[in-house]
């Protein structure tokens, strides 16, 4: 089966890749674009490790065909914070609140959190937990992740100027 050329816009950057029609977005991100921050945890859409934003919505990149992601705005974990010095408030909160252990679920968690907070800057604890229902974590018991998202939400509402 011949490969097809696909134009992707990832984290604002244009890419053109020849992909198998059966190639999933996560495969192309990781193997072709070397954006390995997006993880593969299950390939059945149950764990959320591969979560990315497509046109602002969180999706499982393991169940998204690369050919169907054409012309859309894709944000991966690499596009959330610009550098170690310029982290997104969600990333800062994940670090400071101890929301990270093995870190394998973290990129997906951060993108699910971003999807939530971009839509709803004042989520209740229950809304946060519901928003994380598609992201499994085996290390943290979620408590600190939930807390980090609360803290990040506050900070995103009231951004403090850099010292």
């Amino acid at each position: 089966m011949p490969k097809v050329n696909v134009k992707l816009k990832v984290n604002g950057d244009p890419y053109e890749v020849a992909v198998n029609p059966s190639g999933t977005l996560v495969e192309v991100l990781r193997e072709d674009l070397h954006l390995t921050g997006t993880k593969i945890g299950c390939q059945t859409g149950d764990c959320g490790a591969c979560t990315v934003l497509v046109n602002g919505k969180s999706v499982c990149s393991c169940l998204t065909l690369a050919v169907e992601a054409q012309e859309k705005e894709i944000i991966t974990i690499e596009g959330v914070g610009l550098s170690y010095d310029k982290l997104h408030p969600i990333q800062e909160a994940f670090i400071n609140e101890g929301a990270i252990q093995c870190g394998y679920c973290t990129p997906g968690m951060v993108l699910s959190a971003k999807h939530l907070l971009d839509k709803n800057p004042n989520p209740s604890e229950l809304q946060i937990r519901q928003a994380l229902s598609g992201n499994l974590c085996r290390c943290t018991g979620y408590a600190r992740i939930v807390k980090a998202i609360e803290v990040a939400g506050e900070k995103m509402k009231n951004p403090v100027k850099e010292k």
């Binding site: 089966m1 059966s22 059945t44 149950d46 959320g48 999706v59 998204t64 050919v67 699910s112 598609g134």
Partner: protein
């Protein structure tokens, strides 16, 4: 677990999709959100040579109120859109609830309501609410359209009345009468976001005197396909709701269920839950209907 290779086809209209479908027949699969299809392909339970993606068809992602009081839902309307739609929440709360507990946030952002139904899984969360609201399935093929009531749509596990040359064009759901209450109930091992162990939807419309003018009960995951419990609906109709009446209806529902035992639950448990959930769904429907009537 990579996805087996296929040729991807991108029709520009539903008509074009139908032509592709007609020429490739059973070697092809229609893909809407892809969340179910790609898993099946990854697990090698389905290996189409051609995938016809509806993603490229414009203007079929809609949820809209049609003149005449019907809600129309298009084939690319995502489950998250169903959850967020104010008309759905107002008029079809059982559907709103079912859609909100279908899979996860990400899957709801990708998967479509119609796709969820076309898979004809016995446990599809959204089938039972669509059944209690008398949803009409509009099916198109190259030479025309036909309309099928949703309870006739399912044939068995993974099987529907859709023929190879056909597609679901949209769902039409009539807005219920004012004094109607409806409810969706589900039980499963892990919180709400879980494949439905067992689910029940109910609907009651009340007359001015408080008697039931219309009743609907639908069960999921307890038979080879989602089913209506017409027998129980009949004993409710025309009567004044009482605890005993609901208990009787729930018992009938239990008897009508013919579940299997599998790794998700045993048949006995499923039958028992049908009774519990039917009673709860009727109670909640009555409360909602009474509130609306007054």
């Amino acid at each position: 677990m990579s996805i087996p290779k296929f040729t991807y086809l991108a029709p520009k209209t539903l008509k074009e999709a139908l032509i592709m479908r007609a020429s490739h027949g059973s070697k092809s699969s229609i893909m809407a959100g892809g969340t179910d299809l790609l898993i099946k392909m990854g697990l090698r339970t389905l290996q189409p040579e051609f995938v016809i993606g509806l993603n490229s068809v414009p203007e079929i992602d809609y949820i809209t109120l049609r003149p005449g009081g019907e809600l129309a839902i298009g084939p690319m309307a995502k489950l998250s859109a169903v959850v967020e739609d104010a008309e759905v929440e107002k008029n079809f709360p059982a559907l709103s609830e079912a859609a909100s507990v279908t899979a996860t946030v990400q899957i709801r952002n990708m998967g479509t309501l119609i796709g969820n139904i076309c898979n004809a899984s016995p446990s599809a969360d959204n089938a039972t609410p669509l059944m209690i609201y008398d949803t009409k399935v509009v099916i198109i093929r190259s030479d025309g359209e036909r309309v099928v009531p949703i309870e006739e749509f399912f044939k068995g596990p993974g099987k529907s009345v859709l023929e190879t040359g056909e597609l679901v064009k949209e769902f039409l759901i009539p807005i219920p009468e004012k004094s109607t209450g409806s409810n969706y109930q589900k039980v499963s091992t892990r919180s709400k976001v879980d494949i439905a162990g067992i689910c029940v939807s109910a609907l009651l419309t009340l007359n001015n005197d408080g008697t039931v003018s219309k009743a609907r009960i639908a069960l999921g995951a307890v038979a080879p396909k989602p089913i209506r419990v017409v027998k129980a609906e009949k004993i409710l109709t025309g009567k004044t709701p009482t605890k005993e009446l609901f208990n009787d209806a729930a018992k009938i529902a239990r008897e009508e269920a013919s579940p299997i035992s599998d790794m998700r639950a045993s048949a006995e448990y499923r039958k028992a839950m049908v009774e519990v959930l039917t009673r709860r769904a009727l109670d909640a429907s009555l409360a909602a209907a009474t509130k609306k009537k007054n």
